[in-house]
Symmetry: C2
Subunit: 174 residues, 2 copies
DNA sequence: GTCTATAGTGGGATAGAC
DNA sequence: GTCTATCCCACTATAGAC
């Protein structure tokens, strides 16, 4: 049985490993090709350019975050924990997926909305949902960047964030 | 009257202009030197390396943010507005100053604490202060990165953030 | 579909003359 | 303190042979 090799998919996977294990600078077409087992110029027979690899990684990241949130259910504390856990486990992919403007025209349709849906339905109000998303993003971003003092109690900071927004959630007694 | 030229200070200023006007890639030693009016190698007589320029810019950014917050007074809405305004007005410097681990050993002593003080004294609780800081950071970061949908009402998102944390501030009736 | 060769562009930093 | 010359590095991407 012949199993055709999907070089494009191999390249994306190679890019992800390089990104997550060694950082963004390691994700060069040369290194990607090396992992695939071919030379860099041959990559361009399977992928239009480097941006394509990055866009596919962004799509993977968004899809996985959305799935993690959906699996957490409607509870804010659980949503926050799931968001934090995914981001910390995939720090460099998280940064790649959130640092730059979304290439919306090259992303699978509905992906952005699907990733946002769990928070939106937990709060009902889109403005609150955005504030909560941004707050989680800020906490995780600063944690990943190592910007909090070394002795900072980040669990407590997350708890404070959850406590602040909890009264605005759908299920809460207001 | 002889006015000696401080090449190091000139280089830092040149780096800041290049960063803010053209982006981080434009901030090369060659471009910096060009703005100063000398050749790139001569820069190294006045500055040990490029990292020194970046560190001085981070210090400038932190000092200016701290000053903006201090000037805003203890009111949370005003603090948030000041934070947002400074960050949006200096987007690329803000990113430079918050994206990577703080080089604490090469920063002026007390600078980090001074920048954090206004928020800390507005809330009393360090955990809450960190959550608020991170929330503002997340909002401003996503706004700078162009990550919100084009039609998103960001004033409303900021208002939601302020409303969520306001009950935890010192002056509020609890 | 793979290769070699290479174009084109940039970067940080040092040596040594003046 | 400034210069020229240079090192050494890296990258994305294309041309054209096989």
């Amino acid at each position: 049985m012949i199993v055709p090799v999907d070089r494009a998919a191999q390249a994306v996977e190679a890019a992800r490993v390089l990104l997550e294990q060694e950082g963004r600078e390691a994700m060069s077409m040369r290194r990607v090709a090396e992992r695939v087992g071919i030379r860099a110029p041959s990559l361009y027979k399977h992928v239009p350019d480097k941006a394509e690899l990055e866009i596919r990684l962004v799509a993977q990241g968004l899809a996985e975050i959305g799935a993690a949130l959906a699996a957490a259910g409607p509870n804010l504390a659980r949503l926050a924990a799931a968001y934090r856990a995914w981001a910390l486990a995939h720090g460099r992919l998280y940064k790649l997926a959130t640092d730059e403007p979304l290439p919306r025209d090259r992303l699978p349709p509905g992906l952005e909305a699907a990733a946002a849906e769990p928070l939106l339905s937990a709060f009902g109000d889109e403005h609150v949902a955005r504030a909560v998303w941004a707050s989680a993003h800020g906490l995780v971003t600063l944690e990943l960047a190592g910007r909090f003092p070394p002795d900072a109690d980040l669990d407590a900071a997350w708890a404070a964030m959850v406590a602040a927004y909890a009264p605005l959630a759908r299920g809460s007694a207001r």
